[in-house]
């Protein structure tokens, strides 16, 4: 027996991008997630997206809360700044960072527990402020790191929930963001790199808050009572002593399908998710249509993926605030301090 060392994310070639960097330069520390975790697939897509965009690694700020998903900011771009903050409160930290320095690329990585339970208010308000950042919600329907409690997005990516949605309706971050006026809303699947990488790139380039909800199956706790292939089943019928003891080494789930197509994908627990990719001529500039589209897909038991809505004319937090172009952190003190003379003059108003 040995530690389970997973290879660092691997890439086809050691090609250099426009700024002379290889993909390797966008990799991070070794992942400590479970083998086959969807989150690791998203990490790999991040590496590709940043590499392809020729972004200087140290000009990237990666922010996250707490959770398996939130850990992943350590697993890409070593040479950037990461901040693993507190559970559910990453949006505030990102808001403050962006307020201070509008010049960097901001990536927030979160989970469905982090964003839809404890962090729901913060995520909604970051959307409302239109903080310029790419916000990736690695959505697995469970709290991975605390061992498998259901999250508010519940059974995402599973057909086995049979009507439970009507009992305690899951919170859909995509519908929420569309309702709240978000200016970039997309959904994808961790295993669909062909779709995910371009979406990440688009999100990084967006002039405001870009939400990408990525269905990202948890290989370890994705179980439903009814599934005989699930981990829960294994646990109950095999190992009682310790509750999360054996985690089978799984392979990551991958898929690749054409625009406009419906694609059933089998999850680790044997359940099926039916993805439907937006057609090539879908118009992502109509918010009401986007909402209707998501709802109608849900009614058909499909998860629609792709860029659902975009509005590049929205004003971000700094535009609303009318902040100077120079990032605030770069302003010299001399322009910030009004100086003694002005203070003396001001004192007259206090007499």
């Amino acid at each position: 027996m040995t530690s389970i060392t997973k290879p660092k994310v691997q890439h086809p070639a050691n090609l250099k991008n426009q700024i002379g960097r290889t993909r390797r330069d966008y990799e991070g520390s070794m992942s400590t997630l479970c083998a086959g975790c969807g989150h690791d697939s998203i990490t790999a897509a991040f590496v590709d997206a940043f590499w392809q965009l020729d972004i200087q690694p140290h000009r990237v700020a990666k922010l996250s809360g707490i959770g398996c998903s939130s850990k992943t900011t350590a697993y890409f771009i070593n040479e950037s700044h990461g901040f693993n903050s507190v559970h559910g409160r990453m949006p505030a930290v990102a808001t403050g960072a962006n307020a201070a320095n509008s010049g960097l690329y901001y990536v927030g990585v979160s989970g469905d527990g982090d964003s839809l339970s404890i962090g729901l208010g913060q995520m909604c308000h970051a959307i409302r402020r239109n903080v310029r950042m790419l916000y990736v919600l690695e959505n697995n329907g469970v709290y991975g790191l605390t061992k498998g409690q259901f999250s508010a997005s519940a059974d995402v990516g599973s057909k086995s929930k049979k009507g439970e949605a009507n009992i305690q309706s899951p919170i859909d971050p995509v519908l929420l963001a569309l309702t709240l006026g978000a200016t970039f809303v997309a959904r994808s699947f961790s295993g669909d790199k062909a779709q995910l990488v371009p979406l990440l790139k688009a999100g990084l380039r967006h002039g405001g808050f870009a939400l990408i909800d990525v269905i990202s199956p948890c290989v370890t706790f994705n179980d439903h009572d009814s599934s005989t292939k699930s981990y829960l089943y294994t646990r109950q019928h095999y190992h009682e002593v310790a509750s999360v003891d054996f985690v089978p080494l799984q392979r990551e789930i991958r898929t690749d399908y054409a625009e406009g197509q419906r694609q059933p994908v089998m999850m680790h627990d044997g359940s099926m998710v039916h993805f439907r990719k937006l057609e090539a001529n879908y118009d992502p500039t109509d918010r009401a249509a986007a909402i209707a589209r998501v709802r109608s897909a849900q009614e058909r038991g499909e998860v629609v993926t792709g860029l659902l809505y975009i509005n590049e004319s929205g004003m971000d937090m700094h535009a609303i605030n009318n902040t100077v172009e120079t990032p605030l952190v770069d302003l010299p003190y001399s322009t910030l301090c009004p100086g003694a003379a002005k203070l003396d003059a001001l004192m007259e108003e206090y007499r």
Binding site: P57, N78, G96, A99, A100, Q122, L328, V329, P338, G339
Partner: protein, 599 residues
């Protein structure tokens, strides 16, 4: 004995009726006459229709503490007649609106009652509810002008300044002022023995509240990011910061702002924003009050452990829980000292008045950056929301921000490899870098276990190495924080220790006691952890009386824990009913304690 330029007056009205403007005018006029004056607003936690009071103390020697009972009571609120009449000093005066009768039961033999039919006169003179209500305030101001001899020219000058562009308002105000003035001149012997005479004692001074002064300190320190969630009594700090920034920080041509204020969705978010901005290298702050402090505690622990500079203003109000939001207290000291779960200890600064709010606010950013940790500036409602007479605020243009150990791009070029939490010398402070500055400066910030290289760890020794260093860093900071204010006299064995806004009443009480032959030493802490000077003071006095505004003697607790003094050498004198200390209360308290000690 009250007399010329030495008396107190109190005005009881209903909030939302415009009296605050009139009261401000009154106080400002006295100030412009060169006479030391201070005003305190005692207001309810609602917007309109409940009793509110304004207390003015005129004191030629410049004492600014609360000083009940009152020599002159202006009772404009029938709903509080009983209470108001009871608060008049023996031999004092009651001015009331005789349009409404004063119940017989409230008459007192030992005061002089002056009835002025203000309501009636205003109904006769003005049209419409709105104007009548507003002008009644100016009318009682006019009556006071006559009764205590306020300089009419000064008052008229102020009205002209104010209404220079609104002739009709000037006319009404002028008319209302005369109504009250003429009535008292005609019916009573004016001025009263408690009256004003011009002096030249306020020339170097200003009237300012602590929140405005603190906001100005933030502007001068170069703060660029402010995050907040509205809460009484901290709200006006950010409102003032915004106003000053609009004045000083907006590009004249482009109208672009070189600051960013975020009204957060709550205090958790406000704290997070400040932490995010501090991490990026901006000077960032958030003003709040008790409930906000509780909500911020998770983020404060993060900033402490991840060593992110951040400034928190706690304008304290009466707790616990929602408590009395429009009353003052100093009761967050102990919670803040060890805010957040786990082992933590935080730097605190304690301004005593608006002047110190300005200077300590400016200092707080230097301190936060130097020690890479949250800094709390604790004022209170009394300081934050009342206008105090202070010396003019000054700035030294040679002063540059102390950013602490921040590695620049050239610094980074020179070194082999950067490790975030690796302190190389004895102060326990590790150099930091700012995101985006240089590839070599990259590091990973986390609130989870980390070693001195900045790596994640679950190893006991690595963990301990970092938290031990942080403990050293915080303790070592003590000597770099603002020094205590100390007054000693040879041979004294008893000292008085106080904090924050209690200063005024304590200083005056000590002067009075000294005049009476009882000399006591004095120390006011201005920062936590305490410096050697505080330790020495405690050690060199047989007994210290700790005077503070909370129920649980929180400052005393910190003194015991930090200085190691035995508790029986520290007596407590406490006030926590929500109003500032009065001088008399402290004199009586000290005497009581010293007698108890002797007995």
């Amino acid at each position: 004995m009250p007399g010329v330029n030495d008396f107190t007056l109190k005005i009881g009205t209903v909030n939302g009726t415009g009296s605050a403007s009139a009261n401000g005018l009154l106080m400002q006029a006295i100030f412009r006459m060169g006479i030391p004056v201070v005003g305190k607003n005692v207001f309810p936690s609602n917007i309109q229709g409940l009793p509110t009071w304004y207390e003015i103390r005129v004191n030629k020697d410049g004492y600014t503490a609360r000083n009940a009972p009152f020599d002159l009571m202006v009772a404009m609120n029938t709903g509080t007649y009983k209470r108001d009449v009871a608060e008049i000093a023996k031999g004092g005066w009651l001015l009331y609106d005789s349009s409404w009768p004063l119940p017989k039961a409230l008459h007192r033999d030992d005061i002089t009652v002056l009835g002025v039919p203000l309501g009636e006169m205003c109904v006769e003179t003005f049209g419409g509810d709105r104007e009548r209500t507003l002008m009644k305030n100016i009318a009682y101001t006019g009556a006071l002008v006559g009764l205590i001899d306020i300089d009419m020219d000064v008052v008229m000058g102020m009205l002209h300044e104010k209404f220079s562009k609104k002739k009709h308002l000037l006319d009404s105000n002028d008319k209302a002022l005369r109504l009250g003035y003429d009535y008292v001149k005609k019916h009573f012997k004016c001025p009263l023995p408690i009256r004003l005479e011009k002096m030249d004692k306020t020339g170097d001074h200003i009237l300012i509240d602590g929140n405005a002064a603190a906001a100005l300190g933030c502007v001068y320190a170069g703060a660029t990011v402010g995050a907040w969630y509205p809460i009484t009594p901290a709200t006006s700090l950010m409102e003032n910061f915004n106003a000053y920034c609009q004045q000083f920080r907006v590009d004249k041509e482009t109208k672009k702002k070189n600051f960013c204020i975020v009204q957060a969705e709550d205090e958790l978010a406000a704290a997070g924003i400040v932490v995010g901005a501090g991490w990026m290298g901006a000077r960032a702050f958030t003003p709040t009050a008790g409930p906000g402090i509780s909500l911020m505690s998770e983020f404060v622990g993060l900033a402490y452990y991840a060593e992110v500079p951040a400034v928190f203003f706690d304008v304290q109000r009466t707790g616990p829980s929602t408590g009395m939001p429009t009353r003052t207290q100093q009761a967050d000291i102990l919670s803040i000292a060890h805010l957040s779960h786990g082992d933590t200890k935080h730097l605190m600064l304690f301004p005593a008045n608006p002047e110190e709010c300005f200077y300590l606010a400016a200092d707080s950013f230097d301190i936060a950056e130097r020690f890479q940790t949250p800094v709390f500036v604790l004022s209170d409602l009394d300081i934050g929301m009342n206008d105090w007479m202070c010396r003019r605020l000054k700035w030294d243009d040679a002063r540059k921000p102390d950013r602490g150990k921040v590695l620049s791009a050239p610094d980074l070029e020179k070194i082999e490899k950067f490790y975030r939490y690796n302190a190389t010398n004895g102060d326990g402070i590790a150099a930091r870098t700012l995101p985006g500055v240089h590839p070599k400066g990259s590091y990973f910030t986390r609130g989870s276990g980390h070693n001195k290289l900045g790596g994640y760890t679950e190893d006991s020794d690595e963990y301990r190495e970092v938290v031990d260093r942080i403990a050293r860093k915080i303790d070592a900071a003590a000597e770099s924080l603002p020094a205590p204010e100390i007054i000693t006299h040879k041979g004294n064995t008893v000292g008085v220790i106080t904090i924050g806004s209690a200063r005024g009443a304590v200083m005056e009480a000590l002067d009075r006691l000294r005049d009476d032959g009882l000399s006591l030493d004095y120390l006011r802490v201005r920062a936590f952890p305490f410096s050697k000077a505080v330790h020495d003071f405690v050690a060199s006095h047989e007994k210290c009386i700790v005077i503070e505004m909370n129920r649980d003697a929180q400052l005393r607790s910190l003194l015991i824990l930090e200085t190691g003094v035995h508790g029986d050498r520290l007596e407590s004198l406490l006030e926590y009913g929500g109003l500032p200390f009065g001088t008399g209360q402290i004199i009586a308290g000290i005497r009581g304690i010293l007698e108890g000690v002797k007995a």
